[in-house]
Structures are given as structure tokens and as C-alpha cells.
């Protein structure tokens, strides 16, 4: 193994194994997704002070709520990693346990976010109120939609593992899902730092 790696130059080693190529392709997709978020972050950074006489961020954000959301997403990211580890050990029970924990935590994140949004709407805080609120709902809403899509994907993966078993393609999809889920947590770090904590500075 090491002898081959040392003797043959990188350019002459032929195509990489499928798992590496697939992961790299998915990695490129994740980076392009992060570029979309960067545009929304840029819009938020430019418009954060443009409240048009409406409420400012410091007035409407409840940090306890946000802290709970952050904990849900962070722990779900960890359990998602444990789910992939369980898959490598071929332990079906643990895959389903950790996938279920990840799913429940993801659902609690989305419900917390929805309850936050519904509370805001009931107080007349909506995207049409000011440029700041348009940018806020645009950024946080897009992240929420991504998490919802991730939950649908996770549900499909759990069904596939239950029905198709752990064939290589299914395992590869689960690895891609875990990359997606970790990337969403990465974006959320930016959201809670810039949007929620940034409003207090």
C-alpha cells in the first residue's frame, strides 16, 4: 500500500475509489450551498441597521430560545456522526437509535424556530416590515428550509436502511447526509454569531 503510494506519482495513479470521488463531488455541492448562504449573509450585513423605524434585532431576539436551538442542532450533529460510526460497525440497532435521536433533535430545532417566527408574526414583525426583517427572515428561513429538507432526507435514509439494508450505495448516501447535516450546523454557527449575538453588540 505505502510502496505503491510512494512509487507512482499522483498523476499516474488512475481514478480514485468511488467513495472518495462521491464525497468530493458532494463536498463541492456543499461549498456551492455555502456560497448561497454567503450572499444572504452579505444582504443581512448590509441591511442589519435599516429598520425603517421598526423593531431592531436587540428588541425582538430571545437568546434563551436561540441557545436551545443551537444546542439541538449541535447535539444532533454529534449523534449524526455517531450514526455514521454505527454504520461502519454494521450495527443496525444503533444506526436506527442515533438516526432517530438526530431526527427528533432536528424536529425540535425546526419547531423552536417556527414558534419563534409565529410569535414574531403575531406581533406584526414580518418580512414586509423593514429591509432588516426581510434579510433576517430570508437568511434564517433559508437555513430552516435546508434543515427541513435534511429531515426529509434522513427519513428516506432510515426507510432505505430498513428496507434495502446496508448495501454500499445506501451507506454512501448516509455518509453524504452526515456531511450535509454537519455543513448545516456550520452555517448555523454563522447565523447565531452574526444575527443573534451580533444584535447585542
Amino acid at each position: 500500500m505505502s510502496a505503491i503510494a510512494e512509487e507512482i506519482p499522483l498523476s499516474e495513479r488512475g481514478p480514485a475509489p468511488t467513495r472518495i470521488v462521491v464525497s468530493f463531488g458532494f463536498w463541492l455541492f456543499l461549498l456551492s450551498d455555502i456560497v448561497i448562504f454567503s450572499a444572504l449573509f452579505a444582504a443581512y450585513a448590509v441591511l442589519a441597521q435599516r429598520t425603517a423605524g421598526g423593531p431592531t434585532g436587540a428588541q425582538i431576539f430571545d437568546l434563551k430560545h436561540v441557545f436551545l436551538e443551537t444546542c439541538c442542532l449541535l447535539v444532533s450533529s454529534f449523534t449524526c456522526g455517531l450514526c455514521v460510526l454505527a454504520m461502519e460497525r454494521r450495527s443496525h440497532t444503533m444506526i436506527h437509535v442515533w438516526a432517530a435521536v438526530t431526527f427528533v433533535l432536528g424536529v425540535s430545532f425546526i419547531s423552536l424556530e417556527l414558534s419563534e417566527f409565529i410569535g414574531m408574526f403575531s406581533r406584526g414583525i414580518n418580512p414586509a416590515r423593514s429591509a432588516f426583517l426581510s434579510a433576517f427572515f430570508g437568511l434564517v428561513g433559508t437555513h430552516g428550509i435546508h434543515v427541513t429538507a435534511g429531515l426529509c432526507w434522513l427519513a428516506v435514509m432510515m426507510t432505505q436502511i430498513a428496507t434495502l439494508g446496508l448495501r454500499p450505495k445506501v451507506a454512501q448516501r448516509l455518509v453524504c447526509f452526515s456531511l450535509f447535516w454537519h455543513a448545516l450546523d456550520l452555517v448555523w454557527i454563522g447565523v447565531f454569531t452574526i444575527v443573534y449575538l451580533g444584535a447585542r453588540t
Partner: protein
């Protein structure tokens, strides 16, 4: 690549794992520990008033970048091994584009805002 272990590691793309599950579990637990500490530090610094207020944005930025680094290394398994050069290059390009979009927009919009006629005068001209 000197040893078998390095060659094994060299095949890791993001999300790929070593054959030894125990070391991986360790990596996830370490990453999770760092992430918890950094998250608590961010929220703690923002809520309490222990940090000098004008320095708070810098501290929050540093904590966020540190936590993103922790996630990339321990959860997304970006490493410096020779064969994951492509992954790191793509990441570098991604960071470059994100920086251009975010800071470019902020600079351009701040500049436009500086050159814009004050709203009062603009309203008078439109009458």
C-alpha cells in the same frame, strides 16, 4: 508518505473514515467537547458584560471561526494529508468566494451609502 498509517489516512476525503472506529469516536467526542465550550463562550460573552463592549464583535468572530474550524476538522474530516489536497483546495476557493461576496458587498454598499445625497435633500429635489 512514510508509513502505512499515513497512506491509510491519505485516502480520507471529507466524511470518509479510518478503519478503526474507536479513534473516530474519539475524534467526534473531542470535536463535540470543543464545540460545546466555544458555543457556551460565545453566548456567555454576549449575555454577560464581562468583556469590554467594543471588543465583543472581535471576540465573537474569533470564537465563531474557531468553532467552524473545529467542525471542519473533527466532523467533516478535512485533513492536511496529501490525497485530500483537492478537498482543501476546493475549501480554500469556497472561502475566497465567500469572502469576496460578503466583504465586497459590505464595502461597496457602505461606499454607495456614503456618496448618497442625504434623504432630506433627495425628497426636496423630487418635489
Amino acid at each position: 508518505m512514510k508509513s502505512n498509517g499515513t497512506a491509510q489516512q491519505a485516502e480520507d476525503a471529507p466524511g470518509e473514515h479510518d478503519a478503526d472506529p474507536a479513534s473516530n469516536l474519539q475524534s467526534y467526542v473531542i470535536g463535540f467537547g470543543f464545540a460545546i465550550v466555544l458555543t457556551l463562550a460565545s453566548f456567555g460573552a454576549a449575555v454577560t458584560h464581562w468583556v469590554w463592549a467594543p471588543g465583543l464583535p472581535v471576540l465573537l468572530a474569533v470564537l465563531a471561526i474557531a468553532q467552524m474550524g473545529v467542525h471542519l476538522v473533527f466532523f467533516l474530516h478535512v485533513s492536511s494529508s496529501p490525497d485530500s489536497v483537492n478537498t482543501v483546495l476546493a475549501l480554500a476557493f469556497g472561502i475566497f468566494v465567500v469572502g469576496l461576496v460578503v466583504f465586497g458587498s459590505m464595502i461597496i454598499m457602505a461606499n454607495l451609502s456614503d456618496y448618497m445625497m442625504p434623504m432630506q435633500q433627495l425628497m426636496q429635489m423630487q418635489r
